[in-house]
Symmetry: C2
Subunit: 326 residues, 2 copies
């Protein structure tokens, strides 16, 4: 099924959305917010599924035409966001351009960090930031949203705790990140709030795209109106969602609503382009001696959209403009 | 005023607690949970304060004798936990014992990381962990709980967004952490869920202990029944709470209920002891060539308590036993 959150309060108001995104219906009688549905998934999900089936069949009372412009992030604030670096070419290129290497154990265990899990912008919100000099960048990702994950779950079992997938723009400040990583305590000031795509989709709804712990399909990215990349998301990865979840769950249980990103999508084949400007600049540095593509400036736009094998949008698009603080 | 959460559901049930911790009263009519009170602090706080005044005067209807054993963490799950390393002697000793140095810019800007913000244990919960071989340690801290903090707030202004303070045991796995920090993405598997003291206290309630962005008083720690440290918390720091909040708020607003820790308490004077076993072992390594104090084993106990100038407990104690997974 497909879920979304209408802009309302701190957590949005849960909607069930039809398969074709044409109509929607309030899920308030089942769960007022997506977080509350995830907190009580065993009870809520069969009822949401029944409402979804009714909506698709044109039988849902009080269904209305969906206006994507009214949607917030499906989960505007969450208790945990874990982001990985599962596409090796993304990390290898970035590090190579800086004259650094990937950690020795990069392929032995997932490289991950704990990120900011609140303030998620809606798909069409302006990205408001204090300075153009911070090296503003986007990162195209697909994030899993989990239920309650028990401590000690294994990689295969971990996939069974994924409730939804959502598009994610992991906003990054490239001028700040290298200095922050040198201090070894991870990302903080260099990772401001991120954005989520409008529609959260259950694994079963993905059909054949959801396989072996990965979401296949094509992630397309445009910056300033120019196509920057067209990346296959189900290949060229060192680890899948279950691996990432199991890695962190070695010593902690997860609260329902945890977001787990695989990291910026990237393919070994350079000709398909990239899923962020930093990697394009890294490739320019490696191949041509210097970065030429500028980072994002106020007024620039970013568009991210993931497509299935028939060219249908899977999660709806993220389409944002970079802007100064209001 | 003093607030606490009775064990109930995922977020606990908000209580107002009397100054002497003898009685309590449900705050459900004002806000069902501490998170909901923080979400709506302008409205909720004067009403909670009035209830607190009534309770202390013996005028609160439905007041009952407080049983500390019924309390959960005041905020069992939060949207953000930021932890600093503001006591230089803690970091210098740990790094020196490993043959490493502190980052060059350690005194220029706060060293901080984004930590796990859910799964906070109650003050007397067992710390259940998978293995004694992970180098189980505690860390004694006082954390601020903020309201909504605007992006760009300065260090002085940031102190005005602190709503509460609470005792925190930042559980750490010393065998995992050095390898994790080498990967530069910060703490993750090496930092399982932490614990909060039973009573959250407003800055005004701290009186003279809350001054210049710091909480003074004496933090006492006991391990296996032995006193490990008696640390002055308001001195020997490189940065105060406002500095830490402002550092991260350069590029993000905070969601209400953010926890901000100053890091493991530590004094330059070695004779007062330490606020975690890692630092004691570091001092043993530096002074005697090898660590001798063992990390925590299953069955071991930890006690943390912070005292005012008259020897009164400020936040109630954290008292936990280390135990294997159930």
């Amino acid at each position: 099924m497909k879920l979304a959150s209408q802009r309302a309060g701190r957590d949005g108001a849960l909607l069930v959305v039809s398969r074709d995104l044409a109509t929607a219906v309030s899920a308030a009688a089942i769960a007022p917010t997506l977080q509350s549905a995830l907190d009580d998934w065993e009870r809520a999900s069969p009822r949401l599924q029944a409402l979804y089936d009714d909506l698709n069949a044109g039988r849902a009372a009080r269904a209305f035409a969906l206006d994507l412009g009214t949607l917030a992030a499906p989960l505007p604030r969450a208790y945990q966001y874990l982001d990985g670096a599962a596409y090796p070419s993304h990390i290898q290129r970035n590090r190579q351009a800086r004259g650094e290497s990937v950690p020795d154990d990069f392929f032995q265990k997932p490289l991950m960090y704990q990120g900011i899990s609140h303030g998620f912008m809606g798909w069409n919100d302006d990205v408001r930031l204090p300075s153009e000099d911070d090296g503003i960048d986007f990162e195209a990702e697909i994030a899993a949203i989990t239920g309650d994950v028990p401590l000690g779950v294994d990689a295969k079992g971990a996939c069974g705790y994924i409730r939804l997938f959502v598009l994610l723009n992991d906003v990054s400040l490239r001028a700040i990140i290298p200095g922050e990583l040198k201090r070894t305590f991870g990302f903080l000031v260099g990772k401001p709030a991120s954005s989520l795509g409008p529609i959260a989709v259950t694994p079963d709804e993905l059909g054949e795209l959801w396989k072996d712990g990965l979401v296949s399909g094509t992630m397309k990215c445009w910056v300033r109106g120019e196509e920057l990349g067209s990346i296959e998301t189900g290949t060229d990865v060192a680890f899948h969602y279950g691996d990432l979840i199991a890695h962190v769950a070695q010593t902690r249980a997860f609260e329902a609503g945890t977001l787990v990103g695989l990291g910026t999508v990237s393919n070994e084949d350079e000709s398909v382009g990239v899923g962020c400007l930093g990697e394009r600049r890294a490739l320019e540095t490696i191949r041509q001696g210097a970065a030429r593509t500028p980072f994002l400036k106020f007024g620039d736009t970013v568009r991210i959209e993931h497509f299935d094998r028939s060219g249908n949008s899977v999660f709806g698009a993220i389409e944002q403009r970079i802007a100064p603080l209001a």
